[in-house]
Subunit: 335 residues, 4 copies
């Protein structure tokens, strides 16, 4: 049995509470927030949960094993450090920290204190991503060609981070989970239309050591909501439209075959291949429920974490490099 | 009355012939191609058109006023030069030339010889682009924010140029026609999955001197055919889906208002605005027919050309800069 | 201030409770159900609401002014009669009753007891229907031609009623609200693929005294979920796709003009007209919230009810006629 | 080798000529039409084809083996009779004749004269219908439940027939080809909004002797073009959207299992089943080309005709019954 606390119950915290609360192996003991109304909201829905304005009450509670941190990004490091130093496991909202140095420090600290860091890369636990991962792991896509993701809509402008820090953690964490490879470098471009130095439209190209390439388009100023990811390999290609209510993943039996030829004019010859398209049935479990299950499996039964501090660190590294690149008009930044 | 010849009747040439032929002010006198079967095909459909394997027969024909060049890009310069030197007007397939130096030379030569260069940026003549141009010119979009275009499918690999040179001339010429502004610099990235040095997936960011930004995604390796362009301004935003059979253009009365506030925490305040969406009825005239009309209006009645050599040059400059950038992993190249 | 009770808290009752509870002028005092688990569920979310297994406790409570009935259709009449006889206002789930005789009796009883009957035709309160009603009332559609509605999916088979009684009350109530006209007769066809005498696929044609015609297709055995309604008039035509997340209503400036001609061969001449398409922004208020507001406006401030017993009766009459027709293979049944 | 003539070269005739002309085993010798401009059009595209205003020239030509009739429906019978009496094979545009008596007479006459009647049910030769037929024949759909087809748009009003005679022959011929069963009766409803006695909106229900049911919705007054057919069986269900450029057929592994239970309350128990969805790659051959191939296979090599006079007769019978039913407000008409 785990006893949990939640720090920050604004937008995302209540979802964590709802899923922790529903899990038979977790008792949600307390939560904190600076805003009284948010605490009252939790209290009215979960009368048994203790609320406080001081998050140290939660960190100092010896009964608590696991603390979820759902506060603004720039507070993640300080609060997580305190949690880990108190010998407790921590679930940190994405992105894990504001800098990769901070993420590295937390990882070391957690290893020293023998506690677990979980980073809340929720998409990794969706039925769609699980299905794509399964296809990649079974080599059904063949050699991987590219990952191209578009995440745009007329979105809420953030006051502290640009559109990359706000939206791209989703795409980066998905890509990292699917490919499990370290990128080589980043080229990021974008523009700020408000004049506050925070880009609202941004494009990131992520190079790997071979011809695999990734591209992420994030945008707070799009008239239409688009959540569209293309993942192509030499054998099959996937279109994932997350706006689709049920047929999110389309697997195309399409591609090219590269034939080495003796033709003096062209040294290679391309053959096109098109076959059926398949929409697999996806696991409909709420992602956060599956994530909660993984956390309990790790802490109670020694399972392998799906998203640990290293995964969190990789996302922060890529965000950090993108930030440097975008400020220098696409200068290539090594990871 | 104009007398025309067509050099190159492979894929695009027959469309030029069909439209020139149907125009009451053009007589198509002759055409040339290196392949006999192509000439026979023209002959069977247009018994009155003279065919030849030697394009100089057309250039040397004193009756001919206008020659369309529909040959591979790397031959455009030589053939166009001969046409212009023979004192004839020329319509050149896009992209105009392989280098901006060549385009510049043709422009000077045409001015010296007092003939017209038309570049075949066909999309500029579609009902969709005309409608968007009209909205921009009436300032219905407000301050322009960005142009984002995706042109991808499992496309025919070219053996001589990469995917940018193959597909992006469409998007660049549309963007140039709509905005009529000179870009400042280019950042291009991409990957070659075949190993012949020609990128099959590419991304271009085009910077202007202010916060206007353009991005073009071209791809020969996409399972789905996407022709989607977003054009956003401070007042309205447009989604143009060229795959839609009839409702190609959606105009969203959506956007943000930036309010300067006295709030010490945030110096600007964003207000979101959403209203109706409108799909205007578009002019359904075939683009090439409208283009043909413009050519006759210029040559017979002194009208202003819609797409002249300077427009062709701008496209080539951007392609050229993209080529340099993509080979140096997104290095910013000034225009 | 109103004091309310809710009888039946299975699928729909909790939504009524949530909306009544959130309304500042309604106190939800109690609810009843035969199943203990459902009552416990309400109790845990609304600790202040009294629960009981005996609905008579609610009817006999002198403090209660308004009772919502969310029980199976065949119990609506008996329970509603008891509520009305107790001098209380009643909100009845659709369809109002199992027979039109029952609906008529309830209407008379309510008039005698000076209480209001509301029938829960929720769709009437959606932004989509309100917008269409507004267009019709302003005569923007011109002469009305037809109403064609498709409501199909792999739906939950009911054990007591066929697919018409289950799904068509939505479409009939929408149609009745929009047109406010009494149909002349019904032709219904369908098939039962299970063998229990309850049609799972059904088609209804509804005739009016002029050329206006309505058709409703309901189906529990469709692989795809379709919620598509066409409403056409001589001036404009509407496509309402309720599956669309935001652009539910498309208004087409399309139609025909009928020109009386002197041509001896054809006495009429048809001219086609196509213009822009417009998607108006819709009021996004939850329908049940708007419905709750109307109920309080009626009971506390004497407003006109949007959906009274007569509206409920009309739906039941059409269902009843459809039932007769479908059992006699499309025999026309007068209303 | 076959020598063919074509009577009627208005809308459809030129397509027949193009396909006959391209077939290596057919010589198109002559064609006729009452309008000179249509003949000139053929002449300019096919200088070798003889044209005439008198169709008897074609019928009386002893060299001709096969005559295609692409004239208005009410002339099909007289012309076909003359063709058959002249001992020639005939391809008749759909619908075959204006009455089933006429169709019967032509069938008998053809048998007597030992010639073949082909009816131009073109859809039967599409990749989509061939794939669905294949699935049904392999029993992949299980027991057939229903066929539901919608064929609507702002269509050309015909002056001589209603919307059923204009559009439904497509759906009826497809249904007949797929199921190969004789319907039991028809119920048809509809409305005429112009006042000339010809329905522009119509609905047909087709009953079979078991629970299989078909429904066809045809409409000349729809703002949107819809070509959507649902075909459901106990094992799988198909959605065929003919507007889709490439993924026309979706096969859903969805359905219900009916379990006989001992439960006293409900004698049957329904279990829902949902799995993957599959879009098979379809044969992209032009339907008319495949049809032409079948005709030559029949006439030159004794193959079985895909669409003979009996298929044409069945379509006419159903149209005839629909006509009777629609004029009597859905009165059930036996086939």
């Amino acid at each position: 049995m785990l006893t949990a606390g939640v720090i920050g119950v604004g937008y995302w915290g209540p979802n964590i509470i709802r899923n922790f609360y529903a899990h038979p192996e977790i008792i949600v003991k307390s939560c904190s927030d600076l805003k009284e109304t948010r605490l009252e909201n939790i209290k009215s829905n979960y009368p048994t949960i203790h609320t406080t304005k001081n998050y140290l009450d939660i960190i100092n509670d010896p009964q608590i094993d696991l603390i979820a941190i759902c506060t603004p990004v720039d507070t993640h490091f300080e609060i997580s450090k305190a949690v880990i130093n108190a010998g407790k496991n921590v679930l940190i909202e994405k992105p894990m920290t504001s800098t990769s140095a901070q993420a590295n420090e937390l990882i070391k600290l957690a290893e020293k204190n023998k506690v677990h860091i979980f980073v809340d890369h929720t998409f990794v636990f969706t039925g769609a991503v699980k299905k794509i991962k399964e296809l990649i792991d079974k080599n059904e896509l063949g050699d991987l060609y590219y990952f191209d993701s578009v995440r745009v809509n007329l979105g809420l402008f953030q006051h502290d981070v640009n559109v990359i820090w706000d939206l791209a953690p989703h795409d980066i964490s998905i890509m990292h989970y699917l490919f499990n490879r370290t990128p080589q470098s980043i080229v990021a471009t974008g523009a700020d239309h408000i004049g506050n130095g925070l880009e609202d439209v941004a494009y990131m190209t992520i190079y790997f050591t071979d011809s695999l390439i990734a591209h992420i388009h994030t945008n707070w100023l799009s008239p239409a909501k688009i959540r569209n990811t293309l993942i192509a390999g030499s054998k099959k290609m996937i279109v994932w439209d997350d706006n689709e209510p049920s047929e999110k993943i389309r697997i195309y039996d399409k591609g090219i075959d590269i034939i080495q030829s003796d033709d003096q004019m062209y040294n290679t010859f391309i053959q096109y291949r098109t076959g059926d398209m398949n929409c697999p049935k996806l696991d409909g479990t709420e992602a956060l429920k599956a994530e909660t299950q993984n956390i309990t499996d790790v802490l109670l039964r020694g399972a392998k974490p799906m998203v640990d501090g290293y995964a969190g660190l990789m996302v922060v590294k890529i965000l950090e490099a993108s930030q440097k690149s975008i400020k220098q008009r696409g200068l290539e930044i090594k990871i």
